[in-house]
């Protein structure tokens, strides 16, 4: 936990100052998770604000301060999922945007170690985003939460409210689908 339970209790009872401190403590971590989940840096803050807005209006439903982090992750997962579904409906081509970004970056960079490193990172991001595009939004989020965010099955159980075996099966299938695309070089 990044904060004391007492602070969560205060925020729960309507203390806006306490809520402000809760947001400040968690915003960096949540924005990072959202960035990895949605893969579009320009929309990360917007989705992040949506998460904390939902937190503000649902804090009174929190059973106990101890389950605050799974609760916050659940809100994050839901907001990212809503965002990805909206994006899918808009038929936006994420990959073409990233490629343009990459080309622009490559053009702008006149060489140097830092630029080369940034280009490599961009390529990794593009590759993983492309692989994750082969699975559903639900599986994409589940995979990132497990493999990238490093959440345990126990924590995922609390977030998804499903049993461990169901999660294992779902994760295994999603991993296989991604691996198949990886091996087939569909990226």
């Amino acid at each position: 936990m990044l904060i004391e339970f007492e602070l969560i209790e205060k925020a729960r009872s309507g203390d806006d100052g306490a809520f402000n401190l809760v947001v400040k403590a968690y915003r960096k971590r949540i924005l990072g998770t959202i960035a990895r989940l949605i893969g579009r840096p320009e929309d990360v803050e917007d989705v992040g604000q949506e998460v904390f807005l939902r937190l503000y209006y649902s804090l009174d439903q929190l059973r106990a301060a101890e389950v605050f982090e799974p609760w916050l992750y659940r809100l994050t997962v839901n907001a990212a999922y809503d965002y990805l579904r909206r994006q899918k409906r808009r038929h936006e081509s994420r990959m073409s945007d990233l490629s343009e970004q990459q080309v622009m970056m490559a053009d702008a960079s006149a060489g140097g170690k830092q630029q080369a490193e940034e280009l490599r990172r961009t390529k990794v991001r593009e590759m993983v985003q492309s692989l994750l595009g082969k699975v559903s939004e639900e599986d994409r989020i589940l995979l990132i939460m497990k493999e990238v965010e490093g959440l345990s099955l126990k924590e995922l159980e609390q977030i998804y409210k499903v049993n461990e075996n169901a999660l294992k099966v779902r994760l295994f299938r999603a991993r296989q689908r991604v691996l198949k695309a990886f091996e087939a070089g569909e990226v």
């Binding site: 803050e45 692989l131 295994f172 691996l179």
Partner: protein, 113 residues
């Protein structure tokens, strides 16, 4: 599910996930993050408050109309079955009383004796 299959998948993908994690570090939020968040909270709060007010207004309106209909349904038949006790107007009643008291009216002065 096969344990070996799981390990195989894990072995091949783990380095990629780690690289992705490294390529997407936690970013610092912009200076506008908190002000915009509070702005959204306030906007939502006023929307919720106005929708509550609208709901209450609608509830009261429905209750008033229902009460008016119920009162009409009860009172109108009652008025129709029991005609009012006084059919004559106040002026008619007064005139009738006046004519009944005519014998007690004193004649004009000079006519007496």
């Amino acid at each position: 599910m096969n344990r070996m299959d799981q390990d195989r998948v894990g072995d091949q993908m783990d380095p990629l996930w780690a690289e992705y994690r490294e390529a997407c570090p936690d970013a610092e939020p912009s200076a506008h993050f908190m002000p915009r968040l509070w702005q959204r909270i306030e906007t939502q709060r006023s929307t919720v408050a106005s929708s509550w007010f609208r709901l209450w207004a609608e509830v009261w309106l429905v209750a008033t109309v229902t009460l008016a209909i119920v009162m009409g349904a009860i009172l109108i038949p009652r008025f129709q079955s029991n005609p009012p006790a006084y059919l004559a107007s106040y002026v008619d009643v007064l005139a009738a009383a006046d004519s009944a008291n005519d014998s007690f009216v004193l004649p004009p002065a000079g006519e007496t004796q």
